[in-house]
């Protein structure tokens, strides 16, 4: 019952926004538009898997480096793909490993040096940005191979390859959360680290793994992002950091840790994507778009915090 309640705000908000979209923007409900919205949602959804894991791990968990990690893999990994599926899979593996490596560095800082996650991941994000510029000397991968771009190909409209992969990953993540020992240990650690340690849970390992997972999914997302966009720019992934936090908050995850749902975050991603699409269709200038995004984020936060405070 309680789990269902987590979904209601985001599902409700999606429906409201879609209705508004249909009213304001002509052709909103076209198959193509919906397909595109779902694909972008899937993209953001992969990022929310990363962010949700970090936030649920507790200890004021958050991963502000996910955007930078995605930008890094977006500009670097496409180089590994020329034309075979094998190379594509390999590139994804490398992207994931890069993300995991960065995530592990975050873990070391957070677990071993006891640096608050917000500071550690914030600084790590800068370091990763610097590394990205250093490695690419300012010029990103110039050519995205067609096979990478095919992630945006439709399978059965309105579902595209990327969308389906994203949904599968989210569902698998949700199953892992509730069915696997690690997932349950993660929730307990995020809920009450002191109690979890006494119970014999290796909280350092669990907390550390959370950021490795976060980094890994951010890395994967970066490569998908490159394929989706068909071209790469230096800071492609940066806006996704904020969006992933917003989506996780809409998804009803307790920002203090210990409670959340990946599927709910995916719905949260849907809400945000619909919102962004409407804003883009209205042709507002970038400044106004940023203002609206920021205000909506505050609103989402307030609702999220309020609903969790009411429970305690």
């Amino acid at each position: 019952m309680d789990r269902l309640a987590m979904f209601l705000p985001s599902v409700g908000a999606s429906i409201v926004l879609i209705v508004i979209g249909q009213l304001i923007v002509p052709g909103f409900m076209s198959i193509n538009n919906i397909s595109s919205i779902l694909m972008t949602t899937g993209l953001l959804g992969i990022m929310t898997i990363a962010q949700n894991t970090a936030i649920m791990s507790g200890n004021n968990g958050i991963d502000l480096s996910v955007g930078s990690v995605a930008s890094l893999t977006a500009v670097v990994c496409p180089l590994l793909v020329s034309d075979t599926v094998g190379e594509l899979l390999f590139a994804f593996l490398v992207a994931m490993l890069i993300g995991v490596a960065i995530g592990l560095m975050n873990s070391v800082g957070i677990q071993a040096f006891r640096i608050p996650p917000l500071i550690m991941t914030l600084i790590m994000g800068s370091v990763v940005d610097g590394a990205k510029l250093f490695v690419t000397k300012g010029s990103p991968a110039t050519r995205i191979s067609p096979i990478l771009q095919s992630v945006s190909d439709p399978v059965i409209q309105p579902f595209r390859i990327l969308t389906i992969f994203a949904v599968i990953m989210v569902v698998l993540a949700e199953l892992m959360l509730h069915r696997s020992r690690f997932g349950r240990a993660l929730l307990l650690t995020g809920d009450n680290p002191g109690a979890a340690a006494i119970c014999g849970i290796n909280t350092k390992l669990v907390g550390g793994a959370a950021y490795a997972i976060s980094g890994g999914f951010a890395g994967i997302m970066g490569l998908f992002l490159a394929g989706y966009a068909g071209a790469t720019t230096m800071s492609m992934g940066s806006s996704y950091t904020l969006l992933s936090v917003a989506a996780v908050a809409i998804g009803g995850t307790d920002l203090a840790g210990g409670k959340g749902s990946y599927v709910s975050c995916l719905v949260g991603a849907l809400v945000l994507t619909v919102l962004t699409t409407i804003l883009q269709a209205l042709n507002v200038q970038e400044g106004v778009r940023l203002i609206v995004k920021g205000l909506i984020l505050i609103l989402i936060m307030v609702v999220n915090i309020y609903s969790h405070r009411r429970k305690s």
């Binding site: 200890n59 004021n60 958050i62 800082g109 957070i110 040096f113 006891r114 640096i115 608050p116 996650p117 917000l118 500071i119 914030l122 600084i123 790590m124 800068s126 370091v127 940005d129 610097g130 590394a131 510029l133 250093f134 000397k137 300012g138 904020l242 936090v245 908050a249 920002l255 200038q285 970038e286 400044g287 106004v288 778009r289 940023l290 203002i291 609206v292 995004k293 920021g294 205000l295 984020l297 505050i298 936060m301 307030v302 915090i305 309020y306 405070r309």
Partner: protein, 330 residues
Amino acid sequence: MRRPLSYYLRKLLKWSALPAFLLMAASFLIVKYLITGTNINASYITSFLNTNTAVICMSIGVTAVILTGGIDISLGALVSLCNVVAVQLMMHGVHYLPALIIVLLMAVAAGAVNGAVVSYLHVPPLLTTFATQTVFAGLALTVMRVPGGRIAGECTSFYYGKLFGFLPPTILFILVPVVIWKIYRRSPEGTRLYAVGCDEGKAFLSGINVERCRMFAYCFAGFCAGMGAIAYTFYVSAGDPDLGNSLDMRAISAAVIGGVSLSGGYGDVAGGIFGCLFFGMLTNMIVSFKVNVFTQNLLEALILLAGVLMAIAVRNRSMSLKGGLKREGQ
């Protein structure tokens, strides 16, 4: 009362800003003696301060916020916003004096928004300022789409002139926030702010108005950002909506290296100032290595990371020795 030398020595070692001070001194010496081609004269100091005033002001403001146990990553965007508003006002014929007053009031109001959302809507400071950062950046872009514009000539000539014959006027923009802070710190409300930062619940039990202390910290941070923005505006004589983007990291890292505890209640603004001076000289050092700009960037970020790691590790150790009740990250 006569106290032995060892008493003062022990007090010095416990000074939270000591590591930052030493780093600053060391980097100063390295730049002065080891880096060829630098002549540390008055004009060097002036130009050094001119470049760094904005980030120094930001670090003063962010220290106040961190002392309450919060954080503010919106100050960089606020600096950009103040900058473009000042330029636009002056370009539209507003006299510089009221224009600057308006900008300062706006900066304090922006800080008040942060403070209000944190204190009354109970949104965590990181997420709040994450959101307001976007809002301020968006407002800056709306006010001025691309960099450009110009400001009143009096401002430029004031800034590039001399105070009392030898001081760079940019010092004023740093001194005013510092003086305000020092007075506040020595007032009863200052003690209360430190109490709030250490343990909000216990401060509340002691009859302290927690929200009021927080509001001051965030408004003061906004004011500092405003002062830094005005200084920077005078410096470049133009507006740039993206200028503050990278300054947040520096300001916060400088404060952390300066000894402020991220959980609140410990530290002071002096450390942050030393931290900024250290970073400023560090940049000069790295530039002199004559590597490409990307390597410079990466080096700076890595040193930032190392500095913060060390500062927090030192902080944790001294907290557990003092028998303090809290550690970073808890």
